[in-house]
Structures are given as C-alpha cells and as structure tokens.
Amino acid sequence: MTREELLTKLKTIIAPYVQNQEKFKNLNENTDFINDLEINSANLVDVVLDVEDEFDIEIDNDAMEKMLTVKASLEVIENKLALK
C-alpha cells in the first residue's frame, strides 16, 4: 500500500470525528488531530479502533499515544503493517 493510499484511507476514517472542516480540507502530514481538526480525545480512541479494523492491525498503548498527527499515525500504521 502506498503512502497516498494509506492517507486516503486515514482521511475516510477520521472524517466523521472532525470538527474543523477548513483544516480538514487542507489536511497535510503535519495536521494535528486535536489542535487542528478539533477531534476530542474520546473520539481519538474511535479513530484508533477504526484504524485497527481497517488495516487488521493491533495498536498498543505506546502506539496510541503517538498517533496525534497524520504523519505519526501513518508511521505507526506502516510499522504495524510491515510486521504482519
């Protein structure tokens, strides 16, 4: 899976939880889920659970804590996919 494909899937996953649509339109790798997209921490858990289902991977506490930006999330997903 290319990074472009990963990003498309991640955008679909986070879309229902995004509050700041302007920043979502201009999403890039540095976009922060909480500070830019205004996703709350409870919905961040839903993002992680949806990522687990979509990519059939398991996210542990350490990985979860890193997944605060688009870039960090893509890295976590890539690392977990590589281990499969």
Partner: protein, 145 residues
C-alpha cells in the same frame, strides 16, 4: 452480590448520587438500581405542579451505574479517586416511559469496548414492572486529574 465498595468509590455525592446498589458485575456487564426519592431537588421545577424525572437525570443515573461504577470495576487497581477523573464523552438515549417520584429503576449496561481508558456501553433502564424506560449508547473516559 451487593458491591457497596464500588459505590463508595464514586466521585458523586447527594444530591447528585443516583446509585443505591450494584447487584451484578463482571467484565462484560453491570446491573444496579436507584429509587428516586419523592423530594429530589429537581421535581420542584420539572415540571411545574407535575413532577417527572428529567431525561438528563435518567441519563445521569444510567451513566453513574453503567459507566462510572462499571469503569471503576474494570480499572481495578488502576482506579484511584484522588488522581483519576471520569467524564461522559457521548450519549444517545431513547426514552420510552416516564419515571415519577418514588419509582425504582434498574440499569443494565453491556460493554461494547473498553480500550485506552474509554468505555462504551449499550445501556438500558427498566422500571419496577420490568418495562423498558430508556435505552441507548453511552461512552465515557477516565483521565489523570
């Protein structure tokens, strides 16, 4: 099984404690009850000359039993009332029957998931006739204060 120990750990007190007893609890579900006293403070204004338990209070009762008590059980050793806070993060509840002053209700909460300190449950409330009063989904989080 009456789990008074869980109720004592709750961060609520009168007039905003809506749990009398926990009668069942395991890692998948919890069941508890509360009897709305005839002189609860909110009956004075809800409604004028016609006391009915507000839906937000029924939701709160469902959350205190189905989320807070359940969460304390699930967190086990990690729970500490001094350092851990709880918050409701979302709810979607449908209401089917009114609850009047003096009525006893039972709440049953089934775990959907408990991950990364977030608990999401299917929660239902029944009256003393075992008729469905309210039902829906509630989620909440535990966090370091």
């Amino acid at each position: 099984m009456i789990r008074q120990d869980i109720i004592e750990e709750l961060p609520y007190s009168k007039p905003f404690l809506f749990v009398d007893e926990i009668v069942e609890v395991d890692d998948d579900h919890i069941k508890g009850s509360y009897t709305f006293k005839k002189d609860e403070y909110f009956y004075e204004g809800h409604f004028r000359d016609h006391p009915v338990t507000p839906g937000v209070i029924l939701t709160e009762c469902m959350a205190q039993i189905g989320m807070a008590c359940f969460g304390i059980h699930l967190l086990k050793d990690k729970w500490d009332r001094e350092t851990i806070g709880v918050a409701m993060s979302s709810n979607e509840i449908n209401f089917y029957k009114p609850v009047f002053p003096g009525e006893k209700v039972s709440v049953v909460s089934q775990k959907v998931y408990f991950r990364f300190s977030k608990l999401k449950c299917n929660v239902a409330m029944y009256n003393a006739q075992n008729t469905l009063v309210a039902k829906g989904i509630i989620a909440g989080v535990a966090f370091k204060k």
